[in-house]
């Protein structure tokens, strides 16, 4: 008995392009979401989605059917994002403040994030701050927090994707959560962010 996506992957492996297109439709939003939150930039996110599916396509032979297809594609996508983050950090530090721009850092110079209409300002301000907080997460917590919260994956699934023990994943979820708690609290004390 196969999962639907596993069956599509097998069909695609035998040259069925329509099955592959169905796989793309099933997973493109998930991988886009992952890449967008990891990299904070829509253009790079789209590149990662394209690259992920290209790799899936060219490596279909290597897909192990005993594994969930989602685990495999998430692994490919996550690794591509992590590679980009590392390359980015190596070539140019975005966190370095530009000397005479008032508090401007490299992130502000990235191509703009989603344009939010003024009407949603209040709501999106909170959202934006949470997103910014996620952006600042150290890399090793970032992918785990994103997979856990934005993709609703279980600790076991994340452990399969990243090939790390569940206990490590658990510890990192805890640390990531603490990190974000502190970040959100110190960034907006005036907002009474945590007051309900």
């Amino acid at each position: 008995m196969d999962f639907f996506d596993t069956r599509l992957a097998k069909l695609a492996r035998n040259g069925d392009l329509r099955a592959f297109a169905e796989l793309v439709d099933l997973y493109k939003d998930k991988i886009y979401q992952l890449a967008y939150r990891m990299l904070g930039n829509p253009h790079e996110a789209e590149d990662v989605v394209q690259e992920t599916f290209l790799r899936v396509y060219t490596h279909l032979e290597r897909y192990d059917e005993t594994q969930k297809f989602s685990t495999w594609i998430y692994r490919i996508g996550t690794n591509l994002c992590i590679d980009r983050l590392r390359r980015r950090r190596a070539s140019y530090s975005l966190d370095a403040e530009i000397t005479d721009g008032d508090g401007l850092d490299g992130y502000d110079l990235l191509p703009s994030k989603e344009q939010t209409p003024e009407a949603h300002l209040i709501l999106s301000e909170t959202q934006e701050r949470v997103r910014r907080a996620i952006d600042t997460l150290p890399e090793k917590y970032k992918s785990i927090v994103i997979l856990r919260y934005l993709h609703d994956l279980s600790l076991q699934e994340i452990s399969d994707i990243l090939r790390m023990p569940v206990t490590t994943i658990k510890t990192r979820v805890h640390r990531g959560r603490e990190y974000l708690r502190k970040k959100l609290q110190t960034e907006m004390p005036f907002h009474n962010f945590f007051e309900t």
């Binding site: 493109k28 979401q33 996620i134 959560r177």
Partner: protein
């Protein structure tokens, strides 16, 4: 329970992994520790905020762009498929090729003159020439490898020449068969034939 343990329990709780007595313990601690109560509320809110992060959808037309970017799928190499399905046969084939390879290379290396026979006393060897002089009789088979056989006398058995040549003078008399082998494969068949002859004997 101290505050450090309490914080660990809070995370377990948020993971959905805290049950039974531990839950009661955490609850008791939170009742009497305002600091932890605050910490717990902050963590809970962090969780809620994270879960409320809006989902983004991939841009329009991405599926089409991806499908267009795909390279022509390389035809699966059928022999690779075969190898994957028949591991034992593949190993046997590889083994056979290696055997053949070493066998042939051995065959190529043998360039020294070899003379075999049951009655070699009458045979004269000159350089790489093996001569059966006129008026002499070899009582049996004569095998010459990597050399030239010149027969003026009689051979009462077969004459076999491998990778060489033979000359029969008008006075020569060969009672058996004359076999000349110049190729590895012929030589192989000859050896196999010989082997079977030995086995069947």
């Amino acid at each position: 329970m101290n505050c450090k343990e309490a914080i660990l329990f809070m995370h377990e709780y948020l993971d959905g992994d805290l049950r039974g007595f531990a839950l009661v313990q955490l609850n008791e601690h939170l009742q009497k520790c305002p600091g932890c109560r605050n910490h717990f509320r902050q963590l809970e809110n962090t969780d809620a905020f994270l879960q409320s992060v809006s989902k983004v959808a991939a841009p329009e037309g991405l599926t089409a762009r991806i499908m267009q970017s795909l390279p022509k799928r390389p035809k699966r190499k059928s022999w690779m498929q075969w190898v994957r399905r028949h591991p034992a046969a593949s190993v046997a084939a590889v083994f056979f090729f290696i055997m053949m390879g070493s066998f042939l290379s051995l065959w190529n290396e043998e360039t020294e003159l070899v003379v075999k026979g049951t009655d070699l006393e009458k045979v004269v060897i000159h350089g790489n020439k093996v001569i059966v002089p006129a008026g002499h009789t070899v009582e049996g088979d004569l095998l010459v490898e990597n050399g030239e056989a010149q027969v003026f006398g009689d051979v009462k058995g077969d004459l076999v020449v491998i990778d060489g040549s033979y000359n029969l003078a008008s006075t020569a008399r060969i009672s058996g068969k004359i076999t000349a082998i110049n190729q590895a494969l012929d030589w192989l068949w000859y050896k196999i034939g010989q082997w079977f002859a030995v086995v069947s004997r």
